[in-house]
Symmetry: C2
DNA sequence: GACAAATGATACTAATATAGTATCATTATA
DNA sequence: TATAATGATACTATATTAGTATCATTTGTC
C-alpha cells in the first residue's frame, strides 16, 4: 500500500530543487541533469504543476519554471491530491460497505478519524520543511 | 488512494458472516448466496485465510470453513497485511528518498509517525467490532 | 525574419497491480 | 462409489501507474 506514487515523489524533488534556486527560472534540462528523472515524465509533471498554479512556466529560449506559491504554502498533501486524487482512505467502504444500513458505523467513524489525522499531519509537511534538510 | 482493496473487503464480509454462525461450518455456497461475491474469487480469498490460519477448512461433503482465531483477535490490519502486503506508508520514500543522506529526515520521521498511528488505530478494529453493528 | 530553445497539448505504449475465472486434483461423507 | 466440498494452480481482464513520443506554440537572439 503506497501513500505516495512516483509522480508525487518526482514533483517533490523538482520543487525542492526549484526552491533552492528561488530567484531563477529553472528549465527541465537542468532538473533532468540534477535529478535523473526521465525527461518526458518530468515535463508532464511540471506542466501539471503549472496548470494547478504551483509553478509558473515561461516559454521560449531561456524559459522554464519558477515558483508561484511560497514554499511554506505548498503542502505535501496538495501534491498528493494533484497527482493521486483526493485522499480518501475509506473510499472502498463507502462504495461497498460492510454495514450499509448503519448511521453510526464504527468502522466508518474510525476510518474517517484516521483520515483526518493523516491529512492534518501531511498538512504540516511543506516544501520548505523538506528542502531545508537536503541543503 | 485506497487503504482497503476488494479482497480485504470481501474477507471482512465473509468473516463477519462466519462469526454470526460461530458454531457451524460455513460453505462457500452459503457465503456466495448471502454476500453476492464471485464464487471463484471468494474461494481464493478463503483459501488464503486458511493458509494464514485465520480460518480452518474442512474438505469433503458438508465441508467449509470455520474460525480458528477468536473474532476479537482478528484485526483489520491483519487482513490488510494478508491481502495487500505490509502497511508501509513511506515505502516510496525509503526506495527513492528525497533526502537520502540525512539521518534525521523530517519527512521520514513524520511519515513513520503517521504510519504508527494508522496501524495502532487499525489494530483497534476487530471482526468483533465490525460484526456487532451489522447484526 | 529565421532559427533555436524552451514549454503546451495530446496521444500513445509498457509495466504492474487488482479483480476475477476456470480447471483438475484431493478429500470426506453418505 | 458418487457427490459435494476445498486445494492448488494457472489463466484472463481491467485499472492504475509509469513512461515515451510528437507536433504545435511561444520567445529570445542573431
Amino acid at each position: 500500500m503506497k501513500l505516495i506514487t512516483r509522480d508525487t515523489d518526482y514533483a517533490l524533488k523538482a520543487l525542492c530543487f526549484i526552491v533552492k534556486h528561488k530567484e531563477r527560472i529553472v528549465s527541465v534540462s537542468e532538473l533532468v541533469n540534477e535529478l535523473k528523472i526521465p525527461r518526458s515524465f518530468l515535463r508532464k509533471i511540471l506542466q501539471e504543476l503549472n496548470k494547478k498554479r504551483v509553478l509558473k512556466s515561461y516559454k521560449g529560449q531561456g524559459g522554464g519554471f519558477s515558483l508561484v506559491k511560497l514554499a511554506h504554502k505548498i503542502f505535501l498533501v496538495d501534491l498528493i491530491e494533484i497527482f493521486q486524487g483526493p485522499l480518501r482512505l475509506n473510499e472502498c467502504f463507502l462504495k461497498k460497505m460492510v454495514c450499509p444500513d448503519m448511521r453510526t458505523c464504527v468502522l466508518r467513524k474510525k476510518i474517517n478519524q484516521i483520515e483526518k489525522y493523516v491529512i492534518r499531519e501531511l498538512k504540516s509537511i511543506t516544501i520548505t520543511s523538506l528542502s531545508k534538510q537536503g541543503a
